[in-house]
Symmetry: C2
C-alpha cells in the first residue's frame, strides 16, 4: 500500500515538504491542505506587489496548478483541518461547501504557519485594520489605495512593517510608522545600525515614531485614527505589523508539545513528540547554531529548509536539519539591510561576552563611478574570537556578504581568520580591501 | 637610531607594506622607490579608464602625494634600483638626472612587480605593440584611440586581455581577440564556463579566435597586422596581453632564491632566503590554501595582503600570511565572472579526484523584475567531500558569492554542509534557494 503523507499548509514549508517527499517516494499519496484560496505563493513578495514593482499578486503564485499535477500532489484549497486524531492517525477536514472528511495518514506534516497578531488594544474590533499576511490581505490594501487612501499608519517597524511603509510611500501615500520599542527593526539590527535605516526612511519622507505604543483605535465602526504615545494620528489606511503568532492550537489539541519559544518543539528530523507527526515553517521551533538553544525564525528560507528535511523523513528517507542563524535581508528603496547570527543586543541577552567592530567603506573602488557606502558591524565572541553575528547596510551585495558571514559562523571562523581571508576584487564590483575584512580588523584592534 | 625600511616598488604591495610598517613603527625611516613617474595607482582600474567609465587615468592614483606626507614616507619616483648589496645592506639607485645613491636598509622589501611579456614572435621588435600595465601604457592606448584607431587586435584572452577588448569595443573599435589556447580565460575558468562568456562577448560584437597562436607581426617599421593560425588580421591598434613575468633579476643578482613558480620564494612572514629581505606582490610566491603547494597569484588583493604582512614584520612586528586561493572577479559589460580555489582542470592537474556540480538559477525571485541568470560550478574533493573551488558567472552579486565560497574553502566546509547552510533571502535580491546551495545539491546527487 502506498504511504499516505498529509501536509497541513501549502506555502513555502508545505510545498517544499511535498516536493521532497515526492522525490523520496515516487508512489506515496501526498495531500496538501490549506484554508486559503491560493496555495504555493510567495508571502515575501507581497510588499513588492503593493509597491508596484511586481504587476500583480497573481505573479507571486510560484507553484501553479500544473506543478501539483506534475508532482502528483493532491491539493485541497479552502479546506480547514478541524482536528488531528493522533491515535487512529487521521485528520478531520471541512471544505468551503461544509463537506467533512477524515483523511488517514502514515506521516503528518504540520505547516500551519503563523497569523498576523494585533495586541489587545482598545478598539481593535473596529473595521479597517489591515495586515499583510495573505494574498487576500494584499488585495484588500490594494483596494484601499485604489479607493483613494492618501495617508497610512503602519503599526510595527519590523521587516514587514517597513517593507509595507516603503511600498505605500512609493504608491504616493503619506506614511507614519509607529513602533513601541525605541528603535526600528528591533529583532534584526542593533540600535546603532537601525538608526542609519531610520534616517534614510525619514529623508525619503516616512514619519517614524519610535518608543510609542498604540493605545487606542479611534473611530466609530471603522478606524479613522489611533492614539499613540498620547498623540492622535488620523489616516485613511491602517496596517497592523505588530508581528505574527504561530498557529499551534490544532497541534496542541492533538497532544503535540510546544517548546520554550511557544512554537512546536522539533528534533533534528523535524519530528514532534508525537509519533509520525512533523512540524515545519513558521509554526516550528529550531535550534540556533550559535546559542544551541531553541529559536524560532519565521523566514522563508527556514521554511523551505524545514520542509525539505521533513518531506524526506516523512517519506521514509533520512535527513537532518542543522539549525538556524536567522540570516535575513531586505531592500528598502535602494538600501539593503541584512543580518546573520546574533546582534550585539541578542548576544548580551544570551550572556555572551562580545567585542564588536563597525566600519564604513564603499561597494566599488573609490574612483569607480557609482560606488556606494556600505556599513558592516561584526559581533565576535571574546574568548574564542569566533564570529557570531554580522549586520550590514549598504547599496549593493549585502545579501551575499551576509551569506559569506553565515558560512563563516557555521564553520566557526575566528575574526583573525576573517581579517586574513582571501577575497576577490575588481574596481566595478568592490574595494581592494573587502569591507568584511576591514570590520574584522576593527574587532582585532579592540581585542588587543 | 630609527629603523630604516626600504621598499622597492610603490603600488598596491609596496604602499600597503609602507603603511603597515608605519603603523607598526612610528619612528622608522621608510623609503619607497619606483621607476615609474606615478606611484600608488590602481593598475586594476586601467581598462575601466580606457572604457570611459572613469574620467581620467589620474583618477586611479589612490595614494596622492599628501598620503606619503601624512604617513611620513619618503617616496622616490623615476628612480631605478641598480643593485642590492645584501652584504652591507644597501641598495644602489640612479634617478632620472643620473644621480646615484647608496641607501642603507635594516629591512628591505622587494615589491618589484611584474612586466607585460610578449613571446619571441617574429617581428616583435616592431613599433606599435601596446600593453596595459602602467598608467603611461594606458595613456598611449588612449592616444591611439584619439588618433583615430578603428580596429584593434588583442593578443591573449586572459582577464586583462578581455577587459581591454571590452573597453576598446565600448569605445567604438572593432576588436579581435586571439588566444593560443582552445578557450578564453584559461587560467580562471573551466572550458564549460568560459564558453558562456565567449558567447556573450561574441554577441556583443567582439571577434574571438581561440586555438590560434600569433606567428608574426606584419608591417615595415610599425605593426599593421598579425599572422595568427595562418590567417592575416590587419588592425590599427595591437595590444599584447599574453601575460606578465615577475621582475626578479635584481633579487636573483643579490642571492635571493626563486621558488618553483620562478617567482621569489617566501615563507609565511614573507621573508626570502636572505636575511632582512622580504618579497611581496606580483614578484613573490605564496602557498596555495588547497594544494599547500607554491603558487603565484598576481592579484591586487594578494599584493595588499602580502604588503601588510611584510610591512609589519619589516618594522619589527609579527604577522603571518595564510596563503592564496586565487579568488578573482571581473565585470565584462554587465556580466560578472568570478573564481576561487581550483577549477576542475586545475584540480585534475594537481591529481585531485573531484566531483563537480553546475546549476543555473536567477539573481532575484523569478517573479521579481530584472531577475538575471546566474551559473555556478562547484568543485569538490571526492573523498573528503570538501569544497575546493567555485566558478560563478552572472549579472549580480558574483563577487560576494565568490567570497562566501572562499570562506567555505578556507574553513574546509563540505558540500553537504553547504547544501544545508543558512542563507538570507528577499525577493529583490535573491532566490529562496540560494544558487550556491543548489549547486551543492547537484554535487551531492553525483556523489550518491
Amino acid at each position: 500500500m502506498p504511504k499516505r503523507i498529509v501536509i497541513i499548509g501549502a506555502h513555502a514549508a508545505g510545498v517544499d515538504a511535498a516536493s521532497a517527499a515526492r522525490k523520496t517516494d515516487r508512489t506515496a499519496e501526498i495531500t496538501l491542505i490549506t484554508e486559503e484560496k491560493h496555495a504555493g505563493y510567495s508571502r515575501c513578495g507581497l510588499p513588492f506587489v503593493l509597491a508596484g514593482h511586481i504587476p500583480s499578486f497573481q505573479n507571486l503564485i510560484v507553484f501553479p496548478p500544473s506543478f501539483y499535477q506534475m508532482m502528483k500532489l493532491n491539493l485541497k484549497t479552502e479546506t480547514k483541518v478541524t482536528k488531528i486524531n493522533a491515535g487512529n492517525k487521521t485528520v478531520e477536514t471541512v471544505d468551503k461547501t461544509g463537506k467533512t472528511e477524515a483523511l488517514p495518514y502514515d506521516s503528518l506534516i504540520l505547516a500551519t504557519g503563523a497569523n498576523s497578531f494585533t495586541p489587545p488594544i482598545k478598539g481593535k474590533e473596529k473595521q479597517g485594520i489591515h495586515s499583510l499576511r495573505t494574498l487576500e490581505d494584499g488585495e484588500k490594501i490594494e483596494e484601499a489605495i485604489k479607493n483613494g487612501a492618501k495617508t497610512a499608519v503602519v503599526m510595527g517597524a519590523g521587516l514587514i512593517g517597513l517593507e509595507v511603509a516603503v511600498a505605500l510611500q512609493e504608491r504616493g501615500l503619506k506614511v507614519t510608522v509607529v513602533e513601541l520599542l525605541p528603535q526600528i527593526l528591533p529583532m534584526m539590527l542593533d540600535a546603532d545600525m537601525a538608526s542609519m535605516i531610520q534616517e534614510m526612511l525619514q529623508i525619503k519622507g516616512i514619519d517614524i515614531l519610535t518608543g510609542k505604543g498604540v493605545e487606542e483605535f479611534l473611530g466609530t465602526e471603522k478606524v479613522t485614527g489611533i492614539m499613540a504615545g498620547g498623540q492622535q494620528i488620523n489616516a485613511d489606511l491602517f496596517v497592523s505589523a505588530f508581528g505574527v503568532r504561530a498557529n499551534t492550537q490544532l497541534a496542541v489539541d492533538a497532544g503535540v508539545a510546544l517548546g520554550e519559544t511557544k512554537t512546536i518543539k522539533t528534533n533534528a528530523r523535524m519530528e514532534t513528540n508525537v509519533k509520525d507527526i512533523y512540524a515545519i515553517g513558521d509554526c516550528a521551533e529550531s535550534t540556533h547554531i550559535v546559542t544551541q538553544k531553541p529559536a524560532v525564525q519565521q523566514l522563508g528560507t527556514v521554511a523551505v529548509r524545514h520542509g525539505k528535511v521533513a518531506g524526506i523523513n516523512a517519506a521514509g528517507g533520512y535527513a537532518l536539519f542543522t539549525g538556524v542563524l536567522g540570516s535575513a535581508v531586505t531592500r528598502l528603496y535602494d538600501t539593503e539591510a541584512g543580518v546573520t547570527g546574533l546582534t550585539e543586543a541578542a548576544a548580551q541577552r544570551a550572556r555572551i561576552d562580545v567585542a564588536t567592530g563597525t566600519i564604513t567603506s564603499k561597494t566599488k573602488a573609490d574612483y569607480y563611478p557609482g560606488a556606494r557606502p556600505i556599513k558592516v558591524k561584526l559581533v565576535v565572541e571574546k574568548e574564542s574570537q569566533r564570529i557570531i553575528g554580522a549586520q550590514i547596510i549598504g547599496g549593493e551585495e549585502v545579501t551575499q556578504r551576509i551569506n559569506a558571514i553565515s558560512f563563516a559562523i557555521q564553520k566557526q571562523m575566528t575574526v583573525r581568520e576573517l581579517a586574513k581571508a582571501d577575497t576577490a576584487y575588481a574596481p566595478p564590483v568592490c574595494e581592494t580591501w573587502e569591507p568584511l575584512v576591514l570590520a574584522a580588523e576593527m574587532v582585532l584592534m579592540k581585542l588587543k
